[in-house]
Amino acid sequence: MTINVLFFGPLAEIVGNAIEMPVVSTLHELEQKLFEQFPLLKDKKYALSVNEKIVSGNVDLEEGFTIAFLPPFSGG
């Protein structure tokens, strides 16, 4: 009953590249949990993706989902 959470760029410096954690019911709940554990994350600018799609607002999470914290892109 877990979800995978990925962190990239400057966010990976705070949290690490990836954590596997027990499933939580929504994206907001996930963020709150991570803010408690990694207070530095709270002030960072990022978008969120669920299963490789950018999402906005709150989203229900299910077992096996992959969530990613995506700081501003700087490719090219």
Binding site: F8, G9, S49, E52, F73, G75, G76
Partner: protein, 147 residues
């Protein structure tokens, strides 16, 4: 249709000029092409607070980036009358002066090739989950942010 297969745009390390030449040369067999448009991104030795950028280290959320690139490719092919399109983006440490992005569009007439190339570059910068870490000569770093 070749534009529907997911292609890996990522390359480890810098893009070599010879690779670009090979890519250009291969198109001489496509005799309906009249125009090629190429964009190359090169790592700048920017000076930020008296420190010089020695390299950019690129990382990506590869699976997501490749899906997004595929979406961009399909949108571009339905918008422009292109003969072909190739995109390569470096990952890893790319030194100042080296090439990190190669976008290559070809079409019978110039407008489609030029406009498509331009749009692909803009979308890559804005939409692909890729990050560049500017590494200074003293080995400190800062994270780039695209404007």
């Amino acid at each position: 249709m070749s534009e529907n297969k997911i292609k890996n745009i990522f390359r480890s390390g810098a893009i070599a000029a010879e690779f670009i030449a090979d890519s250009i040369a291969k198109h001489s067999a496509k005799k309906d092409i009249g125009a090629h448009s190429i964009f190359l991104g090169q790592v700048r030795a920017d000076i930020i607070n008296d420190k010089t950028v020695a390299a950019i280290e690129y990382t990506a959320y590869e699976e997501m980036a490749l899906k997004k690139m595929q979406e961009i490719r399909e949108a571009i092919f339905s918008k422009y009358k292109l003969t072909c399109m190739h995109v390569y983006h470096s990952l890893g440490v790319i030194k100042a002066g080296e090439l990190c992005l190669f976008v290559f569009t070809s079409s019978p007439h110039r407008r489609a090739a030029i406009d498509a190339c331009n749009e692909v570059v803009e979308r890559i910068k804005k939409e692909l989950p890729v990050w560049g870490k500017e590494v200074f000569e003293d080995e400190t770093h800062q994270w780039k942010e695209n404007k």
